[in-house]
């Protein structure tokens, strides 16, 4: 039975996502022979998806507890810029500088997470408002520290993280895979994960069953921001630059992927497998659109248009299926 569930998953939503991924692969392989099914294209897609994927995981856990984190990309940028400044005086000692940079970036992530977590979990500021304020603050600090411009010139050891590959799999993708596994373990195999779902589903119920809601919120946001910092390091290693404005449009895309992956917008449910499939599906669609729209105007704009439409369709269909499900449930009770 368990084996069967891999071939034919019970979750209708996940079946749909697998269908979309397979459909895109077949369609593009047929239409763009050679360019789509090349190892170079897959390596480039795997690279592109790595930092976006890590940010998506961060957004996912913030949404599972019924909140949201608009500050993820600001945390990523602030971490990268702080790391860049910490590495600057250590030029010539590449390995040491890289280690210091990574540690500093992760520390910045912890601090940002504590700020978000205290505002939301202990002061009771709504998550959207708190992270809106910290988005501005963290982004502002990043701008001040960098002087508003990109920082360049990092040790080769750091850039190696962005360009090296193990058995054709780029290191950033390996970092993403590790992050996926870690979040899966967190959500499915730890007590904290269980209380996160409970908090998201019903904060009052979780409070009365003895969960310290404030603490769970704080821990969730610390993990969320540390994930964002990791994404910041990956971006820095991959692009060899730390920019205070990088990825501001990622917020929409990460929310889109999380919602597309089946996480309830009100919190309390959602699986890692769904989000990962949604991530793959979106990256494939994005690459596909780029390939198909070559010469037909700016495909980035069309992609924004398509993502918006897709998000609206998904939330509408989720709302409809939720309504039919609850209607079916009522019918069962009355029958």
């Amino acid at each position: 039975m368990k084996f069967l569930s891999i071939i034919w998953p019970a979750d209708r939503h996940i079946r749909l996502l697998i269908g979309v991924v397979l459909g895109v692969v077949v369609l593009l392989s047929a239409l763009k022979q050679g360019t789509f099914l090349s190892s170079r294209n897959f390596t480039s897609m795997a690279l592109q998806v790595s930092d976006l994927g890590i940010l998506t995981l961060a957004m996912m856990i913030a949404m599972i507890i019924g909140g949201i984190d608009l500050s993820v990309s600001a945390v990523a940028n602030l971490s990268a810029i702080t790391a860049a400044l910490a590495m600057a005086p250590l030029a010539g000692q590449g390995t040491l500088a890289t280690v210091v940079g990574i540690v500093v970036a992760l520390l910045v992530g912890v601090i940002c997470g504590v700020v978000n977590g205290v505002l939301i979990g202990y002061l009771g500021v709504p998550a959207i408002l708190a992270t809106l304020a910290t988005l501005t603050l963290f982004g502002g600090i990043a701008t001040v520290l960098s002087g508003g411009v990109s920082l360049y010139g990092f040790p080769d050891e750091l850039s190696a993280i962005g360009s090296a590959a193990v058995a054709y799999v780029p290191v950033p993708t390996i970092i993403l895979i590790v992050a996926i596994l870690a979040v899966w373990v967190l959500l499915n195999r730890t007590p904290l994960g269980t209380t996160m779902y409970l908090l998201g589903a019903n904060p009052k119920a979780s409070l009365f069953s003895g969960v310290r809601n404030g603490r769970v919120t704080l821990l969730t946001h610390v993990i969320c921001s540390v994930l964002a910092s990791i994404a910041g390091i990956v971006v820095m290693a991959r692009t060899d630059a730390a920019n205070p404005n990088y990825g501001s449009s990622y917020v929409l895309v990460t929310i889109l992927i999380v919602v597309l992956g089946g996480v309830a917008v009100t919190g309390g449910s959602g699986r890692v497998s769904g989000v990962v499939l949604a991530l793959i599906a979106l990256q494939m669609l994005s690459t596909g659109l780029n390939m198909l729209l070559v010469g037909l105007g700016d495909s980035n704009f069309f992609r924004d248009f398509a993502w918006g439409a897709l998000l609206l369709i998904v939330i509408a269909s989720q709302a409809i299926s939720r309504r039919t499900a609850s209607r079916r449930a009522t019918r069962k009770v009355t029958a």
Binding site: I128, T143, V265, L312
Partner: protein, 338 residues
């Protein structure tokens, strides 16, 4: 009399007014140019569009929603209208620009209303989606080039001035732009809507508790359609005013400004969870944030600090009321865990 006075002193509007006065005194002490008429006129010109957009944000917040698509609606409605006027080779009154753009804004707002009312999904997610849809659609299908050839009436309006004063520093003059009157009229209209009409009170009711409002006979769907259409219309008026003041219709000119405007309205006492908020408070919030944002250079801080200053103001502005509410809850629970 004393109770009225007490209520006034305790109100959110009063707190923020005091904050504005304190900040103004500090800035003036460092650089007296701040209080010159020229600087005040410049500030009002900068804040006119923000103020108009803030009125729409206020309506949505009161109803319990969060709308991030209003800059997209403002830009796209304005840009589409300018494209149409250019295609028609129209070169007359600036009012026509408003008359063409506003229905487009209302239509785009109705799309938000449809998703919010029909599917009852969080408005933030809906408007993130429509925002991307509007921007992407406009840029892909209409093209991304700013339109500089606006109708003659619009260009004339952009150069108009109510009062002209010489600059405090250097040669030249600064005028109070009449667009401020558009903001004033709209503010009065929104205030009338909110406090003197049934549908205005119903907006507060669904923001306070949508289920209770529905049981009490409020047709929530209808209110939401009306609300988002109004917000779309306001956004379009703000967008055309922006295009007028800067003399070009730009498809992304206001992009990225949404969060700061929402923050200003929240700073002005509107609850992000709905049910509370006033026009006066919102405009004061816009003014406070505008002063902080635009006066850093006057006090000698580099412009890169602008965002940090705004972030600090936001954290104080949202954290302090939350802390106060928390204390109140603790007190009323007699120290029980909340």
């Amino acid at each position: 009399m004393t109770t009225t006075l007490k209520r006034l002193v305790r109100s959110n509007e009063f707190t923020i007014l005091v904050a504005i006065i304190v900040v103004s005194i500090v800035i003036t002490a460092i650089n007296p140019v701040f209080l010159s008429l020229g600087n005040i006129f410049d500030l009002l010109r900068l804040l006119t569009v923000t103020g108009i957009l803030a009125l729409g944000v206020l309506l949505v917040l009161i109803s319990g929603g969060v709308d991030v698509s209003f800059p997209a609606i403002a830009n796209v409605a304005t840009f589409a209208a300018a494209t149409m006027l250019l295609a028609a080779q129209f070169d007359g009154s600036g009012i026509v620009f408003y008359l063409v753009a506003t229905p487009i804004g209302i239509a785009l707002g109705l799309l938000n209303g449809f998703f919010v009312a029909r599917f009852r999904v969080p408005t933030l997610i809906v408007t993130l989606g429509t925002s991307s849809l509007f921007y992407g659609g406009a840029l892909f299908f209409l093209g991304g080039q700013s339109i500089f050839s606006l109708p003659r009436g619009t260009v004339e309006f952009s150069q108009a001035g109510l009062i002209t004063v010489p600059n405090a520093t250097g040669p030249g003059t600064t005028s109070l732009h009449p667009a401020v009157l558009i903001l004033a009229v709209l503010a009065v209209l929104v205030w009338l809507l909110l406090s003197h009409t049934t549908i205005g009170r119903q907006i507060y009711a669904i923001g306070g508790n949508a289920v209770v409002a529905e049981r009490a006979g409020v047709r929530v769907h209808r209110v939401q359609y009306f609300l988002y259409a109004t917000v779309g219309g306001l956004a379009a008026i703000g967008g055309v005013t922006y295009a007028t003041l800067y003399r070009n219709a730009n498809p992304v000119g206001l992009q990225g400004g949404e969060l700061a405007i929402i923050a200003a309205v929240v700073l002005g006492g509107a609850l992000i969870t709905g049910g509370r908020g006033t026009v006066v408070g919102s405009l004061l919030g816009v003014l406070l944030l505008g002063i902080v944002q635009n006066s850093l250079v006057l006090v000698g801080l580099p412009a890169t600090w602008q965002q940090v200053a705004v972030g600090v103001v936001l954290i104080i502005g949202t954290g302090v009321p939350a802390l106060r509410a928390l204390r109140q809850r603790r007190a009323s629970n007699g120290g029980a865990a909340s």
